[in-house]
Symmetry: D2
């Protein structure tokens, strides 16, 4: 198969998965008035791979499988690979009005990190995690899977390790080991896209101590696995009108509280099991890749700020006012600093033993820092130029 | 009468006023599920005047009328008067969970400004505006009126004066002069509380040129005047739940597009009519008072930020983390700078010819500047401490 | 006597005091080419008290002594007293081209703090420090003394208390107790004006622990006391020309390393001796007063920035450029925020048991914070407007 | 010849050049106690080309001349060329304790810009400037010339063009055209290194109008040309001691007011003469290259800040304090943002018609912006960590 159509992707979601929303269980996520917006939004990923204009970028001919598959699944081995990822992410986000898709980006970040860390764990402990991971990656390619990543635990008291918490379940953990797999319990918070992906990859959220072995667990799981329950967040829902909310009425990310109510994970899907020393490195390596993803999808949003500010200035007849030019210049400075540093991170990437490359960590972090540190200020400049009408305007 | 109960206030709103909301006309604003929240919110003003604990602050014995009336209507003549206003505004806002009431604060700001400027216009042009204003003020006291102020015009191209605009109606203007009054046309944007006050005071929004005489108009008008139509903004409506929106589900300000469809204003309610040289001074003087009001009601919101941040830090188990202490210190710095400068503005107020005082203009503006300039940053500190749950959390 | 002339002040400095500068001992501080600038600078304090235009502000008729004396020595008991202090400090600094004098300001801050804390120590321990302090204050008034304050110790490792340091002498301490007094050893760093004042007041620099009793010491000492040696700092010396350095070639503060080489202090000049619990409160109370002094003498410097920037803009022909107006506005914002908060601190001062008032601590600290936090930025605006000539210009 | 030794370089300066300093004419710049520091400082450039460890980077084998010459003179044609330039500049600056050398960097920037613009002027006007420029470049290579650039005019009123100024001489201009050359008059301000280079390249400082033809002039001139007078700036001179000024007592840049008192320039050294339309493009193109140079030599200074701050923190015993770690992190963020964006500018350089590349303009400007915008703040962090001793410490 290797490449699926949007329709095939949607079909695949009809698999008995358990989703709750505003207190009720959702039968058909695709058809759901509210959550369906999320499904429609991300199916752009499958459209782009079919689209002649974009196919070359989004599709990659895998030499091992000897078939075309999503380029997201290519482990980056050169600056060029990283620049291609940047472009894929930046372009699809731009096409979706600055709302990132995230059904393969973050999942492949997790795969890249697992590929590096399982290699280390295997050589230290003689385990076989990397083979499992590679087999999983092949499935992703062949079935053109969409993926979510559940890393962030609910965590309780942030100053304490899992084993020191008041409740044992503040972090997801192994409650039973069987010959053919493990049983996990707990909940992960804010898992983006979980209701409408094929697989969820679970990663530890931080470094652990030696008493936290049960919490040092990583695996992949189909969303319809028995015992897996998604509670979708109502935030941003419903937007009152496409007039007032032209973006969020068409493009949405849905996050879930992802509950593992004693879910069985067969061994072939388990990538870390008790090796607590590697929980931290795995969490960090994932973040190193994922932060690069993040600084690739932020610039289109910043571009939108610039464009919106320029258009609003035009509407208000103030395009030539010096304070407006100043604010536009600052918005551009903000945007291009993030973009420039993310490009620099790709150029100065670091080669690993496995042949994979990791984007330069300092530059990736700096790009992220500048985005986050300047974000509220950037919003304020757009608002300043807009005037009060955006919050007091009458209806359509 | 002089002081009304909350019930009497609500009764007064049943006067045939014309309000549109989400495309439909509202029959009963008080009973309305959504807009009624605004009515309930502001009726606190009338409760406080009855409440033994607060009465001394909110009620003032007027020596001229020789009866108790709302202290908001006392023209400030000393630092003490200004400090009392600050206290009234800060305290009522605090009691309303940091959402200001604004049904007398802003109206009295307009009255104080009119009192100073009509005095100047009268001495220059031999008009009698100040007597009319004083008569109107007496009505406000005796009937315990609630007031909105419609100053901001829709404005069109911000770089042009009214008479240079593409449409003559971008600013409210006089379209007819009669022996007993004037007829006005146009619309004012974002008038706060208009749907549930007794009177609206109209002021010019900026300085004008000599061709803009028709736009140099100020008057008071009952909300049910024929031709007056309010189109209420749907923003912030409806909040999905009191769980996720504990403040805005109970406290709201409703703003309107305030349409003057050839409304007749009898002479006794007209305070400026064509004296374009005084449009600017009137607009500015109002703003000088109103900015002092603004910097009086902002600190409780900032206090709420501090408190929320401290509570969230406690929940997350990070109250002692140095970055948290740093953020709390910055929030306090932010808050107390605004508060301190607003107090300084009262202390260094400027005595006017009429005996009234105006809060120190530089210090008032600085307090406002620090509030506005630091606002987005302050919000970001609270969000940082909160973590992601506030935007991805499941429902109640 | 009570009020001295500048000449009498200078005469008083010829008392055998031991001062080293650039490796040599200075014979005559007044005549010294370099350090003499400092003497001339501070003698303005004595001029103002003689000057008919300024006398009313700087001279105060002490009701107890029934004679005129320097108003700096009046313990503040009202907002008006604090506002007078602000005015004296701000005005003298302005007259000295924004360089503060500091020969009575800081000393009286120390006296005010000692007056409050000796009161507490006496009631706790039955000591008589406050009487001694009052006697010393009377001497200051009667002899019109100039004063320096040596609080900051050299300190060594900043994370350790004095008794935990590698060397016992990192903080000034008592090395011997005699019937009639104590002997102190150690050094205080950067003592401003020490070479040309009559007395130095020594205060502890921080809170101590119970093992630090020997370090909990406060006293007054004449500058020519045997064993006292001042090593003056060469920083800012010599300014190359009055053309390039119009201010610092005429107005300078000289700081010393103040060495106590076993100096005997008679009991009547000792104000704290071993009561370590009060070292912290004394240090803090001094700082509370002194910070108010600091925020009183900073605004003239800020005013100078504004004026210099405006003049430079004029020279460069860019006074109307929007970026220049923006920078000037920011400089004014900066300046008036500091000034406004320092005024607010005086208005909201706190009455103490003794009848004295302390400026509002939060507001004083905020004024100081805004000054320090914005200082480098403010300098950058002036430099931006100036252009490169200020650092590459040829000589006179 | 192609490569000179430091001694040969110094010898070359003994050519009768006219330099004034503090009102006196300097006979021997090399031996001069004060200005000689600048000569010694820049001679590092010649040392590096001889040094086996650095030679590969600083020396380039020119294929046309078929001999080794300074790599600074290689016109950049690839990202690699730009990265080499960055490295040369960053490394030599680092070796000189963060003070840039600037005797070839800025001159080659001018040559690169002239190479691009003369190409355009020649094709538009049929002139032969580019051949002259190429010939001059060959001389630079063969003689291993050091160069200064005099672009910035004294300018007078910054809002007016040269021909609108009160005085005709506020910008350097052509006062006479002869068959074999031109005579120029006027002065350029703050020309760095002028007293100790072989040639000065003159460029226009801004875009001009059609009346400013006489001011549209560019040329190269030997420093001992008759009529050329340098007035060196005394700023930063003398540093009092190598103890207090360990860097500036050994490394200095000297700037001059560069006076053209009717200097004759032979045709072969003239690169623009009256083509006012190209004054702006030439000024800008130079700046595009030069800004890349600037953001290459700034990071070593920033590194020094980081190192100094870390060392001072260690001395003060506060290396683990959270505010110190915070400040160090901010210093690193500052430094690596500048460095990262300058690298990104090299990676995304723009190919020109001539085959040369220009560093990405936006990214270069952003690197410069971040450096300049954060500079004062960065200094304040270092000062905060240092404490007061750096300005009040006694002498050696
Ligand atoms: C829209 C959205 C989408 C997301 N999508 C995903 C997803 O798909 N998959 C996924 O796994 N996660 C996802 N996340 C989670 C995201 O990674 C986390 O929000 C982030 O890591 C912060 O964690 P938190 O929300 O638990 O906040 P916390 O980490 O609890 O932070 C709250 C505060 O506590 C502080 N803090 C925390 N620990 C300490 C400590 N030890 N010492 C001192 N201070 C501390 C923090 O600095 C912060 O100020 C998403 C989040 C959002 C908002
Ligand atoms: C929640 C809310 C409640 C309000 N309540 C009231 C109320 O009760 N009564 C009332 O009268 N008003 C009210 N206002 C209106 C408020 O006073 C205005 O929003 C404010 O004055 C700005 O006006 P504006 O929204 O038209 O924006 P504009 O003034 O149009 O500003 C938009 C942008 O244009 C710029 N701009 C405007 N003019 C120029 C110019 N000439 N040159 C260069 N730049 C220019 C501004 O700087 C800004 O960046 C309210 C507003 C809000 C948001
Ligand atoms: C021009 C000038 C004039 C002065 N005049 C006088 C005067 O007349 N009399 C007088 O007594 N003093 C005077 N001072 C001293 C002044 O009060 C001190 O400079 C100030 O208190 C800071 O002390 P410090 O210089 O020892 O720096 P430190 O206090 O050593 O500070 C250096 C760094 O260490 C940090 N630090 C210190 N302790 C800790 C800790 N425990 N934990 C974490 N971080 C820590 C600081 O935050 C700072 O970043 C003067 C100073 C100057 C610059
Ligand atoms: C240490 C040092 C070394 C230098 N070395 C060299 C060198 O080797 N060669 C060389 O050619 N130059 C050199 N320069 C000059 C440098 O390029 C200039 O300082 C810089 O371009 C600014 O010019 P200026 O100093 O004349 O300031 P100006 O350009 O006059 O700027 C002063 C102020 O005026 C404003 N301004 C200027 N024009 C306008 C306008 N039209 N509208 C509005 N505002 C305006 C500026 O924004 C600024 O705020 C050096 C400068 C320094 C400080």
């Amino acid at each position: 198969m290797a490449l699926r159509s949007p329709a095939e992707f949607k079909e695949g979601l009809q698999d008995g998965r358990v989703i709750y929303y505003k207190g009720k269980q959702i039968k058909d996520i695709v058809a759901h008035e509210d959550l369906g917006i999320g499904v429609e939004h991300v199916s752009l990923d499958y459209e782009l791979a079919e689209n002649p204009e974009h196919r070359d970028l989004y599709v990659w001919h895998d030499p091992d499988l000897n078939q075309p598959c999503s380029r997201y699944f290519k482990i980056p081995e050169t600056t060029e690979d990283l620049l291609n990822r940047r472009r894929m992410i930046e372009e699809s986000t731009r096409l979706a009005d600055a709302v990132v898709l995230l059904i393969k980006e973050i999942g492949s970040d997790a795969i890249f990190a697992l590929d590096l860390i399982t290699n280390k764990v295997d050589s230290k402990f003689g385990t076989e995690y990397r083979n499992r991971l590679r087999a999983f990656l092949e499935q992703c390619k062949v079935n053109d899977f969409s993926l979510a990543v559940a890393q962030t635990d609910v965590k309780g008291n942030r100053s304490l390790l899992p084993s020191d918490q008041e409740h044992a379940d503040y972090y997801v953990r192994i409650v039973e080991e069987r010959a053919d797999g493990i049983v996990v319990r707990g909940a992960k918070a804010h898992t983006t896209c979980a209701p409408y992906v094929d697989r969820i990859i679970v990663l530890p959220t931080r470094a652990f101590g030696e008493n936290d072995g049960d919490y040092a667990v990583s695996f992949a799981v189909p969303v319809n696995a028995p015992g897996l329950k998604l509670i979708a967040s109502p935030f941003g829902s419903p937007p009152i009108s496409s007039f007032h909310h032209p973006v969020s009425s068409r493009h949405r990310m849905i996050d879930t509280l992802t509950v593992f109510d004693d879910v069985f994970i067969p061994n072939e899907n388990v990538f870390l099991k008790g090796e607590w020393q590697y929980a931290g490195p795995l969490a960090n390596t994932f973040v190193e890749y994922h932060r690069f993803t993040a600084v690739s999808y932020k610039p289109p949003l910043c571009d939108l700020f610039i464009g919106a500010a320029a258009l609003l200035a035009h509407y208000n007849g103030i395009a030539k006012a010096s304070h407006v030019r100043d604010k536009l210049t600052k918005l551009i400075t903000y945007t291009e600093t993030v973009r420039g540093l993310s490009l620099a991170a790709a150029h100065d990437c670091l080669k690993q033993d496995t042949g994979a490359v990791v984007p330069d960590i300092t530059k990736t972090n700096l790009a992220k820092y500048h985005f986050a540190n300047g974000y509220h200020q950037a919003v304020s400049w757009v608002q300043d130029i807009a005037g009060g009408l955006v919050v007091t305007g009458p209806d359509e």
